[in-house]
């Protein structure tokens, strides 16, 4: 196959150089504007309207009514509290487990490659499958968790983990911890491997103990990666509703409602898109501070 250079008419060099990057970018930017930014503006617009899906003729501007309703809505506050508990336990738990895993994977042992590949499995599975799997694990009659705890004499009677309002949220938190800790492990491991070994050699010559090496070399060396990972994880865990939705659908009662889930359920079952959007907007505003910190960090790096 011969390739013949098409004789394109020469665009004046300066102008072509200026326009070309925008031309190359425009398809991606236009598509994201259409399918992401335009819909998001519409969501904000909806939040100021009485927008119920089965009454498409009857959409009226109601100002801040949806937001005021939210502030007077008990379920809104319950969901907000759960969201805070949800992030406040899940992210640190993932971080702790991920850090331990990364420190172990940074040692030399013969089955390290296998361990590293296997650790990632939870992260690769679809959330629906994860939810299904853990519902089965938590099953009150035949689930393995009750079985193990009964056999170890830790429990006297089986606990219906997901049907009990006191345990349901924490049971799902454990599931999400399981799903997300490999992310921390992989990221922290990358951070660990970027620390020059000469630092440790110098430290051991100076007689620093293992703990002091960890404290003065390892921790400062990975702090940047850890901070970035925590920000990303807060955002992601906060947004994550698929596992909860499949495992409990928010129940029993409102025991496992988080804010985005509440917005989703409001719109999905109540078809109240106005109110659902209002909750989603409020939630996005709360998350914005974390997003802003993250974007600042990234923009500092790309400059």
């Amino acid at each position: 196959m011969t390739i013949s250079e098409p004789q394109t008419p020469k665009i004046p060099q300066g102008l072509g150089k200026k326009v070309l990057p925008y031309a190359l970018l425009s398809p991606a930017v236009l598509v994201t504007l259409t399918i992401v930014f335009f819909p998001m503006i519409q969501a904000v617009w909806m939040s100021f309207h009485d927008y119920v899906l089965f009454r498409p003729k009857d959409i009226s501007f109601v100002g801040l009514k949806n937001f005021i309703t939210a502030f007077n809505d008990e379920v809104f506050w319950i969901s907000l509290r759960h969201t805070i508990v949800w992030i406040g336990i899940t992210v640190p738990a993932q971080l702790f487990l991920g850090l331990c895993t990364a420190l172990l994977l940074n040692q030399k042992f013969f089955w390290r490659p296998i361990a590293r590949a296997l650790i990632i499995i939870p992260w690769a599975l679809p959330s629906v499958v994860i939810a299904l799997m853990w519902v089965w694990i938590y099953d009150s009659n035949y689930g393995i968790l009750n079985d193990l705890l009964l056999r170890a004499n830790i429990l006297k009677t089986a606990i219906p983990w997901l049907a009990d309002p006191d345990t349901a949220l924490y049971a799902i938190i454990l599931t999400l911890t399981w799903q997300g800790f490999p992310f921390f492990a992989v990221m922290i491991l990358a951070g660990l491997q970027s620390i020059p070994t000469s630092y440790y050699e110098a430290a051991s010559i100076d007689g620093a103990s293992n703990f002091r090496q960890f404290w003065h070399i390892t921790l400062p060396g990975i702090s940047g990666v850890v901070f970035t990972a925590v920000l990303l994880r807060i955002i992601w865990v906060a947004n994550s509703i698929d596992v909860i939705f499949v495992m409990t659908g928010g129940g029993p009662g409102y025991a496992t409602y988080t804010l985005p889930l509440y917005a989703f359920i409001k719109a999905r079952t109540g078809l109240d898109f106005g109110y659902g959007s209002a909750i989603a907007v409020l939630f996005a505003i709360m998350l914005l501070s974390v997003v802003a910190i993250y974007l600042r960090r990234v923009s500092r790096d790309i400059s």
Binding site: A28, Q107, S127, V128, V129, N239, F273
Partner: protein
């Protein structure tokens, strides 16, 4: 001799055992699901799941009576479509970000990152209305478009970092040899990007395959991807855990295998912070 034995013991206690515990924690639930799926339904509640006396009866039922293969095809079409859309739109954009400096570059690059940070609920409600107005509810195209909201930003970032790793001098050499800018991109940079394109494509495939909320909201009777099919199984076959777990294994299989293949390359994209989930 004593010292060596001692340190051997230390390694077992401080490295091998904890690592084994973590691997068991990571893998245990999955293995438990595998064991359940190969246990005869009649034995499941009397003897419990076990690998002895393995049966594929659950898997056969999954395809014969439940019709799982149709859902697999739907997921395949959607995931491949998303890969095509995501890659075609992002490769040229990534080239522009990597090779030019222009007004608004940083903002434009950051806006792609911003997209993935926003709550999916905020997007899912207006997208539903948009698709309804366009008549795209319950179509493959509708779900491909929806999944592209995740795929495009991700692949722009991933490809930009990949192209950054290809020396600029190659483009310049091509251009002094008479190639145009676009020619240099097409003939020199693009062929060198193939490994990056493949990794990005595979990651898009996995995300689109595993996606659930869009599939649930924008799918329907005609187009029901595998994730929704699994969730429907939970409702329909409540206590038939053998069948349910078999569905889970089959549904997770393509993504799991692909993930293990590309996991190393993904780390670079990860540390760039572009990966969601």
């Amino acid at each position: 001799m004593m010292v060596k034995k001692h340190s051997q013991l230390r390694r077992i206690v401080f490295i091998h055992l904890p690592m084994l515990a973590i691997v068991a924690f990571a893998l245990g639930p999955y293995l438990w699901m595998v064991a359940t799926s190969v246990t005869k339904e009649s034995l499941l509640f009397t003897e419990g799941p076990s690998f002895s006396g393995m049966t594929i009866e659950n898997y056969l039922r999954l395809f014969k009576t439940v019709g799982f293969h149709k859902n697999l095809v739907h997921s395949l079409i959607i995931a491949c479509g998303t890969v095509v859309v995501g890659l075609t739109l992002s490769v040229t954009a990534a080239y522009a970000f990597s090779r030019f400096s222009f007004r608004g570059q940083k903002i434009l690059l950051l806006q792609f990152l911003l997209i993935n940070m926003f709550p999916i609920v905020l997007l899912i409600l207006p997208l539903f209305i948009l698709m309804k107005n366009l008549g795209l509810i319950d179509t493959h195209l509708g779900l491909i478009i929806a999944n592209s909201t995740i795929a495009i930003p991700f692949s722009v970032w991933m490809m930009t970092s990949y192209i950054n790793g290809i020396p600029k001098s190659l483009d310049e050499a091509a251009m002094t040899d008479g190639c145009t800018r676009v020619g240099a991109m097409w003939r020199v940079v693009l062929p060198l990007c193939v490994p990056g394109i493949i990794a990005t494509g595979i990651y898009i495939f996995i995300t689109a395959w595993n996606e659930y909320l869009y599939a649930l909201t924008l799918g329907g009777r005609n187009v029901r991807p595998i994730t929704v099919a699994i969730q429907t199984l939970i409702g329909e076959y409540q206590v038939e855990w053998g069948l349910l777990t078999a569905g889970g294994i089959v549904g997770a299989m393509p993504a799991t295998i692909l993930f293990l293949i590309v996991q190393k390359r993904l780390v670079s994209g990860l540390t760039q912070g572009a990966v969601k989930g």
